[in-house]
């Protein structure tokens, strides 16, 4: 134990270890913060939520901070709803006039335009006429429609409107000036809805969403989800995965190696044979089989990984050390005073290996973090949890690299790399501290 303590005190002499330690502490803080900012149920609801949860965020939006680095300002999402007080809605006897007006000052066209309706009626459906007014005073009719209780009009997907606008997508055609069709016209746009009601208690509410091309700190994916949810929640998942599996395997391996070395004979032989069989089995293939055939639940995966790594190469290393320790005089002394086998293994033998175990344990964590990400990339991540690997998987199945959605690939990768580097910087330094042969080199 004193060896461990003096070793740990030496960390201060290794700047890389301090950097690594700093990163690890930062990650742990981030992980705790993530759990507090977005509680588990909320994170699952957001991540599993479909269009209903993410109605007001754009698809494939870049992080909003890209605007800071570029002269061309990309649009943010504008939401105008009659439920908010800033929108004018006047109602007379049989007609409702809704004016959804907004200032548009961006250098690029929106990504999508959608109008959501909610109508109240008993039998006769209300009727609405839509008209679009541009800053230069042109008026474009968006047609007329009957409104059911909950209705949506995807303006961007209106092919008839697209043809009328000169075969340009509506989100471009409605914003472009006739003289300079490459850039959106800046100024005040207005969507006017004139509703005709046929019943006394009938009413119309409308919401216009002008989807932008940037969103939040992390951008969004193909399902309009804010990537921040997954990036934040990836940290606690990755850390918990790494820690739990690393502790589980290291301790079990240690104890099994000690038992084998202590009892010797057939126990030792059995452990050696199991290890050899286990080395023949391809770990990743088995994990993929478990994920495909059985369950992708993160706990099942952790159990499978632990089971496959207990009888790994580590057992041979520990065994060699234990065989040496077994012969040392203090063990003989402990035996002489009548210590039990269990006491000898747990109290006298295993602590001696901890200086070897600790660096191994720390360097095991990043490889586990990457293993979890690898499973995610193969589409075998936990079906419920948001993780970095799953973000990468979504990105690759949606061709993020082909289509140029770099943020989608880069943000989870950078987080993965930082996490892995933190642990491996510390692990390598610890290895040099505890491994006297390496210390001078």
């Amino acid at each position: 134990m004193t060896a461990l303590r003096t070793g740990l005190q030496q960390i201060r002499r290794y700047p890389s270890a301090l950097v690594g330690l700093g990163i690890i502490v930062g990650l742990i803080v981030l992980a705790i913060a993530a759990v507090f900012i977005i509680p588990y149920e909320e994170a699952i609801r957001l991540w599993r939520g479909g269009e209903d949860v993410w109605q007001e965020s754009p698809r494939y939006a870049q992080p909003a901070w890209v605007n800071l680095f570029s002269a061309k300002k990309l649009p943010e999402t504008i939401v105008l709803s009659t439920l908010s007080p800033s929108v004018k809605k006047t109602r007379s006897d049989k007609t409702v006039t809704i004016s959804l007006a907004f200032d548009y000052a961006y250098d690029d066209f929106p990504s999508e335009l959608t109008l959501f309706f909610q109508a109240q009626y008993r039998e006769l459906l209300p009727y609405a006429r839509l008209s679009w007014r541009t800053p230069d005073g042109r008026e474009i009719s968006l047609g007329e429609r009957k409104l059911s209780a909950s209705d949506r009009y995807s303006i961007s997907q209106d092919t008839r409107l697209e043809r009328r606008l000169g075969n340009r997508p509506p989100e471009v055609g409605l914003f472009a000036a006739p003289t300079a069709p490459q850039v959106p016209l800046k100024g005040r746009y207005e969507l006017q809805i004139t509703g005709t009601l046929f019943e006394e208690h009938s009413d119309i509410d409308a919401k216009l969403v002008v989807y932008g091309k940037v969103y939040g700190l992390a951008g969004t994916d193909h399902k309009r989800r804010d990537l921040m949810v997954a990036l934040l929640w990836g940290a606690p998942v990755a850390l918990a995965f790494g820690f739990i599996v690393a502790i589980g395997t290291s301790l079990t391996t240690l104890i099994i190696a000690a038992i084998g070395a202590w009892y010797g004979r057939w126990v030792d032989a059995l452990i050696q044979r199991i290890t050899e069989v286990n080395i023949i089995l391809p770990t990743l293939v088995i994990l993929i089989i478990v994920g495909t055939f059985y369950s992708r639940n993160i706990w099942v995966m952790m159990l499978a990984i632990t089971a496959l790594s207990i009888f790994g190469a580590g057992i041979k290393v520990y065994r060699a050390i234990f065989l040496q320790i077994k012969e040392s005089p203090y063990i003989e002394a402990a035996r002489a005073y009548g210590a039990s086998n269990l006491r000898l293994i747990v109290r006298y033998m295993t602590p001696r290996v901890i200086p070897v175990l600790v660096p191994g344990f720390v360097t095991l964590i990043p490889s586990l973090v990457f293993l979890e990400a690898s499973l995610g990339v193969l589409g075998l991540g936990d079906p419920v949890l948001p993780t970095w690997g799953k973000v990468l998987n979504d990105a690759s199945t949606n061709g993020a690299l082909y289509k140029g959605y770099y943020y989608w690939v880069l943000s989870p990768s950078v987080l993965l790399m930082i996490t892995a580097l933190g642990f491996s910087l510390l692990g390598f330094a610890l290895d040099r501290i505890f491994n006297p042969r390496l210390r001078e080199l």
């Binding site: 990457f370 993965l416 390598f428």
Partner: protein, 360 residues
């Protein structure tokens, strides 16, 4: 002398038996896992039920038959299909048949996958994919092995220098797997700079001319090879360098230096020679590691090798292919371990065969 021969023979027999047992148990476990202890049978039966049901109900010539008659036809066809795939016998019985087939390398026929030439023979499917894996991983690993060997030797002479410290500082980056570097390389060279392809092994349609074909393959190889190389180059150089340094600080090396031997001879005779067994081991394991390739790297780069084949096979519940890939790996591993024991005895005079246990 007879004593030595007796010892060598006993030892060899012991090793062969132990390794054979390991392979048998390992392969049997692999069969159990690849079938999920019989669970895959249920999935397969359900798939057959669905397919047969759909084909009978969709069959125009059978329309108009009474439902009971249709039921009977469906059941009959299901039974035939079960029998064809051997699903009528209990799993435990079949598992031993599978084991025997696997051990005798009677790899059989796949269930879903077929080779590009249309064959269902697992042997042909694997052989078709093997060149792709060998080409990519062989090139990358040989480059890696020899580069790190010489770089390590070179650095061990200049340890403490700038390059040495740079390698030590970069070593922690090797924790990221090759596919991770692959993503970055694709992003930079394929997506941003558009100079190299995103993936695949040859452009489509493949060039007719052999030289053009080779050039195209070479171009497709650059990124995956670089990804593999980058992911382990620093740790390889670091471990080689440290390894050589440990041996270079032995007393007999000091002695040789004191005698004034030229550094080339010291390196070859006093440092490389005693490290040879370890280097050979690493090289051997590198060679068998080529089998199987890397599942994720091949998936990321769309490389048509054994790794991606295994992944596809698992997705299609194609257990014969999974088991075949595992059994070949197990044999290669056991054979290598056995050969290494012999090679050790040849290159390392300190190893006395059969005296005290053995490696692995």
């Amino acid at each position: 002398m007879t004593e030595t021969i007796r010892r060598v023979v006993t030892y060899t027999v012991y090793r062969v038996v132990a390794l054979a047992l390991t392979v048998v148990v390992g392969v049997y476990l692999a069969i159990l896992i690849a079938n999920m202890g019989g669970y895959v049978d249920q999935i397969r039966k359900a798939q057959i039920d669905e397919a047969v049901g759909a084909s009978v109900l969709g069959d125009r010539s059978l329309q108009g038959l009474p439902p009971s008659e249709l039921r009977r036809i469906i059941d009959q066809r299901k039974e035939i299909e079960y029998k064809r795939l051997g699903l009528d016998k209990p799993f435990i019985v079949r598992s031993f048949a599978y084991l025997w087939d696997a051990l005798t390398l009677n790899l059989g026929r796949s269930e879903q996958l077929s080779s590009d030439s249309g064959s269902r023979q697992v042997r042909l499917i694997l052989l078709e994919r093997l060149p792709a894996t060998l080409l990519l991983f062989g090139t990358a690993n040989l480059l890696l092995f020899f580069f790190s060997l010489f770089a390590g030797l070179w650095l061990s002479r200049r340890y403490g220098g700038f390059l040495d410290r740079l390698v030590i500082a970069l070593t922690p980056t090797s924790v990221a797997p090759a596919w991770f570097y692959g993503i970055f390389l694709i992003l930079i060279f394929a997506s941003l700079l558009k100079v190299l392809p995103f993936g695949g092994m040859v452009e489509a349609p493949p060039p007719k001319d052999t030289l053009q074909y080779a050039l195209s393959v070479l171009k497709h190889m650059i990124l995956p090879t670089l990804a593999l190389w980058l992911s382990s180059i620093f740790i390889s150089i670091y471990s080689r360098r440290t390894f050589f340094l440990i041996f270079a600080s032995e007393d007999y090396v000091e002695m040789a230096r004191a005698k004034g031997l030229p550094s080339g001879i010291i390196e070859r005779r006093y440092i490389l020679r005693p490290t040879l067994p370890t280097i050979i081991t690493q090289f051997a394991f590198l060679l068998i590691g080529l089998w199987g390739g890397a599942i994720i790297l091949e998936t990321v780069f769309n490389w048509p090798g054994i790794g991606r084949l295994t992944f596809q096979a698992i997705g299609l519940y194609d257990t014969p292919v999974i088991v075949a890939s595992t059994v070949i790996y197990a044999y290669l591993l056991a054979l290598t371990v056995f050969l290494l024991d012999i090679v050790y005895a040849l290159v390392d005079p300190r190893v006395k065969v059969g005296a005290e246990g053995g490696a692995l």
